[in-house]
Amino acid sequence: MWDYNARIQNMSHLPTERLAALVDEVPTSSELAHITGCDECARARAVFRALAEMAVTESTRIGSPLTRWETLAPVLVSDGVIDTGRGSPFRRHTVRRPWVQAAAALFLLAGGVAAGRYTAGASTFGSGKPTTIANTDSLRTFHSIDDARTVQAQSQLLYQTATAYLAQNDTGSLATDSPSAMRARLAALDRAREVMGKALNEAPYDPVINGYYLTTIGQREATIRQLNTVLPASMRSISY
């Protein structure tokens, strides 16, 4: 039977790889005894420890980058990681969609025009004449994502316009002629805005929630303007 301890005590030196192992392993008593009596093994052990310290220092060393942004960027663009405004599979569920921004911009523009006309005392949607709406092709097929998104944005704008028209003209379902009714509506819209604002924080890129939020804001603004037309100047709200 091989007696390792006896061999260690009698041998001239510990094997180099065993000395290398003793950087993070504990020597046996016979190994320790040998190292204590052997300058060369003690020195070798110290060298291996110094090497290990160099390695730890190496982990914090930094060098010049191997990569260049000018080389990385085109690949990231083609992968859809960098947003170039054309949509991206990379951010399918999480990113801001251009068509939402487009729809929001169109809606705000339409809302602003409508509110302005309303405040000025004009009919927002014509003087008793039927409102002409764009002829939409309900069975339309799409040839690209951009095509579908454009139609989706147009449809959303159409929906918002119809909603605003009903809010103004369908007096049977909503009494807007008294200041108290307008205040009640404004209070309800404030609560809705708060709820939709929270929902928007949780799902900032959800198109439906964005639509509701923008509708609420637009209606609130229109109601404030409407209220201001019937209140004395000293009681008008200046906050939207």
């Binding site: 790889e17 160099m54 060098g63 191997l66 942004w69 990681v81 990113v95």
Partner: protein
């Protein structure tokens, strides 16, 4: 406080990067490339062109995986792990690590013959380029990156014993290559004055 602020700032940058903001992505790259690219360079060894190609793959992988980053660990730790995994995968593809298991089994107990007597390395990185791919990977992962033998065994598909064997062999060779930097000359002198007492290291 500063660390918290940095982490908060970085988490904002990461959110913007996930949204595809190029400036945010570039900011992450600029901040972490010196470290991440160094990890790749160390694992790959001497060929700078191969290292550059792999580093490019690593960064693309990091940015592709960004939406899956949950913030459980620091971004640098998360990216570092991707860098190691991706680099090892790339080395396997180029067959630089393909024979590691065979390499481990065929190793004798002795230090391999030193064919680089004229070579004087000025750094661990330079010296490690003279190691076999397997020994270099194990040494870099264990002694430089701080991986355990169990983690290395999993990463490289070898046994923990194989990992240890490669490490000790790598250290033995590096000791020769870096002797002029790490040699300790006064251990014996100190010990002679204190006989039978283990030298203080």
């Amino acid at each position: 406080m500063t660390n918290l602020l940095n982490m908060e700032t970085e988490s904002i940058v990461i959110r913007r990067a996930i949204d595809g903001d190029e400036r945010a992505l570039r900011s992450l790259w600029a901040r972490h490339a010196p470290h991440i690219d160094m990890v790749v360079r160390r694992l790959v060894g001497g060929d700078p062109d191969v290292a550059a190609d792999i580093a490019q793959e690593v960064w693309i992988q990091i940015f592709r995986a960004l939406p899956s980053y949950r913030g459980d660990s620091q971004f640098s730790t998360w990216a570092h792990r991707i860098a190691v995994n991706r680099t090892l995968n790339a080395l396997r593809k180029t067959r630089r690590l393909a024979n590691l298991e065979t390499e481990v089994k065929e190793d004798s107990a002795s230090v391999e013959p030193d064919n680089d007597r004229s070579f004087v390395a000025q750094s661990i990185e330079e010296a490690a380029s003279k190691l076999s791919p397997g020994a270099r990977a194990v040494f870099m992962l264990h002694d430089v990156e701080g991986y355990t033998h169990e983690e290395i065994a999993t990463e490289l598909g070898i046994t923990t014993g194989g990992s240890k064997s490669q490490l000790f062999k790598a250290r033995a060779k590096l000791r020769k290559l870096l002797a002029h930097l790490v040699d300790v000359k006064d251990v014996g002198l100190q010990r002679k004055d204190t006989e039978h007492v283990a030298p203080a290291y």
